[in-house]
């Protein structure tokens, strides 16, 4: 019996075709690999072939996916026919620290829950507020306000069969100094946590201690490696640090960075984690190659520990 199901975070960017009927002809137009990365049919098959049976979408995917397929449910069916489930959607709770915007943030959160329900997903991984640069440091009242909004969105999500998982980025307004305080202020009945292994490590959390401490709250993982743990304030609080001017990457394929994934999987075994783990390949120049590299690492290094 498998405890872990693997999914893939949709980093493919916009995909223009559902499927390509004239694949050979399309290839010959420019004899490049364009044909191989232009349709959902093949991309979903790639990830299914590599053992990633779910896909998490993002709000910025919707403008293309919905008109292309006609509806969220049509996309769900299309993916399902290829053996892939929609696990959920990422959500950014912009300005949730701002009391004056409570209604607006709550409404946006509810709309995201409804969208996920339309896709048949069960997870809403949510960045708690805006980037630190521009709003930080948050006051204790603002941190509490973020928690308050999360509780309300989480209540609505729970009522609709969806788990809200907090997802902290290393550059988020909620940051190292108030990260755990913020979590403690949220209601465990409605608000869970999705650990992005690289993001929280770059922020300065100890990945293993964090998971061991909050195992009961964990609703999912975004799995990726990093070579840059514990970054200083000057990096985390800078403007738009995720995409670096010189092309430096924060995120790497499993085993290419410094995170101790075998130790994490020992903890998963200890806590008997059951559910989705979602691979991320952001920053990679070749998502398919990254996905295959990670699949090999999972099979060889992690599955023997816990699967």
């Amino acid at each position: 019996m498998q405890n872990i199901h693997y999914a893939y975070m949709n980093h493919w960017k916009n995909i223009p075709y559902k499927s390509i009927a004239n694949f050979r002809e399309f290839y010959y137009q420019d004899k490049s690999n364009t044909a191989y990365y232009s349709d959902w049919d093949n991309l979903l098959k790639y990830q299914k072939a590599l053992g990633f049976d779910g896909i998490e979408v993002a709000p910025w995917d919707l403008a293309d996916i919905l008109p292309l397929f006609g509806s969220a449910d049509a996309f769900r069916q299309f993916a399902q026919e290829r053996g892939v489930a929609i696990t959920g959607m990422f959500h950014g709770a912009h300005a949730s620290h701002d009391k004056a915007k409570f209604d607006e943030v709550l409404q946006a959160g509810k709309q995201a829950v409804d969208t996920i329900a339309g896709f048949g997903g069960t997870q809403m991984n949510t960045c708690p507020t805006d980037n630190y640069c521009g709003i930080g440091p948050l006051s204790r009242e603002e941190v509490a306000q973020c928690a308050n909004v999360m509780n309300e969105i989480g209540r609505y999500a729970t009522d609709h069969g969806i788990k809200l998982g907090l997802h902290n980025e290393f550059f988020c307004g909620i940051n190292l100094s108030d990260h755990r305080e913020f979590i403690e202020l949220t209601d465990p009945r409605f608000v869970h946590y999705c650990i992005d292994t690289a993001q929280i490590s770059i922020m300065g959390e100890d990945l293993l201690d964090f998971y061991d401490t909050y195992a009961e709250r964990i609703s999912g993982f975004h799995l990726k490696d990093t070579a840059d743990i514990n970054q200083p304030d000057s990096v985390r609080f800078s403007r738009d640090p995720e995409i670096q001017d010189d092309g430096k990457r924060w995120f790497w394929e499993l085993g290419q960075g410094v995170l101790d994934f075998p130790a994490l999987y020992e903890l998963l075994k200890k806590h008997q984690y059951k559910g989705w783990i979602t691979l991320e390949t952001d920053g990679s120049p070749d998502y398919l190659a990254s996905m295959a590299m990670c699949r090999y690492y999972i099979d060889k290094e992690l599955n023997p520990i816990y699967r």
Partner: protein
């Protein structure tokens, strides 16, 4: 002696669709080298799409919003100085479309967001001293029809709201010293006839941005179009395609990607079937002596496209001299 001023549209870089190595395009370093390579190919002007998506989510490495420029260079003046050092002397135009704002069944949202961000695009053009804003008059018809199934081409109410939007933008553009150039498009909810009528009834500060591939795909006679509208043509986008007909995909949700049969709609300039030399001769005869942007939308290889463009312009210089 040709009086045309050639530019390269940064639209040749694929910002939005999946392909290996696309990650490079979100970092500042990529664009900063690109400017020097455009100059090395013999072009000293660029056209920049204005894309609000780059001011959200920390993606300011893509130089296509005011926010991006201010974040990376301080202000437009310093960005222009950087461009000059790289061999780019001018920004020929800013282009803008509203496809990002077709997200729900609220036309008020579409028109409101379009007006708001097109106004930003006008400010962007003013700051960069671009002569004009190339405006797509409507979002993709097929995308609008996804959320508004009763909308048809040249819907009277939609035209009226578009007319009001364009009128407001024209006033802002005029005040900013930027010409508003409407681009006839095969995928539009406004027919070419309606668009030219809209331009004709506007004051002279509203013109036409002629895109040669769009005209061919829409079934228009480019030579006749130039002759009929010469006085209102404000900007040229030389674009190419191997297709002559768009009936099967013009109203697709994404009309740049024909759903029934995958194909690259737009070719690199000079590599398609559009009679570009003939179009340029018509423009020369009509007395056009403005800017000509080379648009390699959907190119699979920007560097090869640049050199193909240089080859094309070199050949064109000979052909036009002899015309």
């Amino acid at each position: 002696m040709s009086a045309f001023h050639y530019a390269i549209s940064l639209d040749m870089i694929n910002r939005h669709y999946s392909e290996p190595n696309r990650n490079r395009y979100e970092s500042k370093y990529y664009w900063e080298e690109l400017y020097t390579l455009i100059a090395a190919a013999g072009f000293n002007r660029i056209e920049i799409p204005y894309e609000p998506v780059w001011q959200f989510g920390g993606r300011s490495g893509v130089p296509m919003t005011q926010y991006s420029i201010n974040t990376k260079y301080g202000d437009a003046k310093q960005y222009k100085a950087f461009l000059a050092d790289a061999g780019i002397d001018a920004v020929s135009a800013i282009s803008f479309d509203a496809n990002l704002f077709v997200r729900n069944n609220q036309l008020g949202f579409y028109f409101g967001a379009s007006g708001h961000f097109a106004s930003q695009a006008i400010e962007f053009a003013e700051e960069l001293e671009a002569e004009c804003l190339v405006l797509s008059p409507t979002a993709y018809a097929g995308r609008l029809q996804h959320y508004h199934p009763n909308l048809n081409v040249d819907d009277a109410s939609f035209i009226e709201q578009t007319r009001e939007l364009i009128s407001n933008l024209a006033s802002k553009a005029k005040a900013a010293g930027v010409k508003l150039a409407l681009r006839p498009e095969y995928w539009s909810l406004l027919s070419i006839e309606t668009l030219t009528h809209l331009v004709a009834e506007s004051d002279n500060h509203v013109g036409i941005a002629l895109n040669t591939a769009h005209l061919q795909l829409a079934g228009a006679d480019t030579t006749a179009f130039i002759a009929d509208n010469a006085a209102r043509i404000s900007y040229i986008q030389l674009a190419d395609t191997q297709l002559n007909d768009c009936a099967s995909f013009r109203h697709a949700a994404n009309p740049a990607f024909p759903p029934a049969q995958a194909t690259q709609v737009f070719s690199d300039v000079g590599c398609g079937e559009v009679p570009l030399t003939q179009a340029m001769q018509s423009l020369q005869q009509a007395g056009y002596n403005g800017q000509v942007s080379l648009c390699n939308h959907q190119t699979r290889d920007p560097m090869r496209a640049l050199l193909r463009n240089r080859r094309f312009v070199n050949q064109l210089a000979t052909q036009l001299t002899g015309a």
